[in-house]
Amino acid sequence: MKKVFWALWTAAFAAGLIGVVQRLSTGHLYAAYGSYIPWGLWVAVYIYLVGLSAGAFLISTVIYVFGVQKLASVGRLALFTALITLVVALLSIWFDLGHMSRFWRVYSSRAWTSMMAWMVWLYTAYFSLLLVETWFAIRADLVRRASGRGAVALVARVLVLGRSDLSGAALARDHRMVRLLATLGVPLATAFHGGVGALFGVIGARLFWHASIYPLLFLASALASGSALLTFLTAFWGPGRGTSEHRELVTLLATVTLGLLLVDVLFEFAEFSISLYATIPAAVRGFLIVLFGPYWWVFWIVHLGLGTIVPIAILATKRRQPQWAGVGAFLIAATFISVRLNIIVPGLAYPELQGLERAYIGPRLSYQYFPSLLEWQVSAFVASVGIALFALGLRFLPIVTARGREA
């Protein structure tokens, strides 16, 4: 099983690397998006991954801010998951830029009116906070590991950054710092991911996006998908697998995930039902594309079937069995990309002016979109880098330890 997984990973990484080389050498020539549908798979992957990050982080704050001890052993796993998903999300959106080398201009331009600029500033602050908080959360264990031999100890020695104090006062300071940063992180992550929703919500030209529920919907879906990812990871890689504590932990996480998914479904129902009821056809077009367009199955089969009904059934009936809970949670987390694609593409898939689609014929002037091979390759690269970073973290950092509870 492990061998098959790593064989698949190698294939995805190799194909992805070829795609990245092609992307860097030929720009956007082999991407399928155009000028009428200017955003595609890479933007969807980005909002999918930042959603997972914000969700996993907010779950970690339940432990570090609100002191829910039952979940304490997965606090670091939640933080580390938030960090990795954020890093690879930024990788995905970086490949999407027309001029990758100019990204720094977002910091120097002071574009106060741009939701996109705010999002970038907020995720930069969020990234810095995550990095420091994770370090404080694992510092004590790094110090303990640093005295050993081998690669793990070497990594620990480097990452301790010379602060090897294990006194009671030092540990108490670590706890205080984690608590402080997690507390600051709650409004920051909320603003950051709410801001991603607002980035779409503020676009008045696109009726499909222009809904005040968007920032809230993004937060609800981040929580649902992020907690699902954490449940899946805990079920298969979490601390103390096989013990009754592990089963209790996974069951609790699965219950939380189920509840959050139901809240997300409620928000989604509110968005769809209100918009579909609009008696002005222009306001309904995007929703009709989601429900009955060329990729209707993305909504009905992938999102509603595999990502909602099946996992609800699994989590409602079998969440006490860690492996089943893990499978149910995996289905939610993995299929959530369909929700993200169904935000990006249908909002852009129809002309704003009647007849524009036939006005001038060109390779990029189409209202049809399906990701090209290059786009899939680059996304496979992003995913495989994320998986590799996660595996390296589990191997070399005290993310999942018997001492996890201390954090």
Binding site: R105, V106, A117, G347, R364
Partner: protein, 255 residues
């Protein structure tokens, strides 16, 4: 009784281009912030020949997939009472441009003379502004070329040779020289109509105005009450696209 000979006044005999040229020269005498460039398109005169679209492509050296002024062809009515109407769609140069505040690097802004400009050297190519424009007037330069995929050889036919020569020519948008064949900006940037700002500032009318075979496109300073565009834009037949949105386009249509 002999009828008086039919007389045509000298002004009526004058091509509107001459008048617009005079309007343009007068406007250029004023400081930048006193000018307000506007365009009027008479859809009753437009025959849908797309000479404006092609003139614009040539002037701005647009590659495949980048278009500043498509002509929308709309079929009206049901058989046998069918007709067509044509709607050229340049950038509206809105007074409240929704594309401007969304830019994360302030690479696009409203100039004092009313033109919405893009700084190709600042634009990061995120394409957020494309999504924000209610007229879909912005397109992205993917780096494609007209002769992509064509065979190479010493005896290329004339069309191919001309095509290759054409795409090595620089464009002069915003008064600078842009060589996209080298792969730099404006490849990887969002591009749009700027009323041929580089031509205006050199005392020439926009390319779409001069190439219009039916004299259906008018251009000038809407701050000048004597200009032809001011006259036409105050006609009762005038309308603007999506006027209810409040974007205040500076492109007017005569219906």
């Amino acid at each position: 009784m002999p009828r008086a000979p039919f007389r045509i006044s000298p002004q009526a005999r004058e091509d509107v281009l001459i008048r617009m040229q005079r309007d343009l020269e007068r406007a250029l005498q004023k400081p930048l912030k006193k000018r307000r460039w506007a365009m009027v398109i008479d859809t009753r005169k437009c025959v849908g020949c797309s000479a404006c679209t092609i003139g614009c492509v040539l002037e701005n050296k647009l590659p495949p997939g980048v278009v500043y002024r498509p002509v929308i062809d709309i079929e009206v009515g049901t058989y046998p009472n069918v007709t067509r109407k044509f709607l050229p769609r340049p950038c509206m140069q809105c007074d409240n441009p929704p594309c401007v505040p969304v830019c994360p690097v302030r690479a696009t802004w409203k100039r004092e003379d009313g033109i919405v400009a893009i700084d190709y050297n600042t634009c990061i190519g995120c394409r957020y502004c494309i999504t924000a424009c209610p007229y879909q007037a912005r397109t992205f330069d993917f780096g494609e070329n007209w002769t992509d995929g064509a065979a190479r050889g010493a005896d290329d036919d004339l069309a191919l040779q001309t095509g290759r020569a054409y795409q090595t020519r620089p464009s002069f948008e915003y008064g600078r020289e842009w060589n996209r064949i080298a792969g730099g900006s404006p490849v990887g940037n969002v591009r749009k109509c700027q009323f041929c700002l580089h031509r205006i500032e050199a005392g020439m009318l926009p390319m779409c105005v001069t190439t219009c075979i039916g004299r259906a496109t008018f251009f000038g300073d809407s701050n000048d009450p004597e200009s032809l565009v001011s006259e036409l834009a105050s006609s009762p037949d005038v309308t603007r696209l999506k006027e209810d949105m409040g974007t205040e386009p500076k492109v007017y249509y005569l219906l």
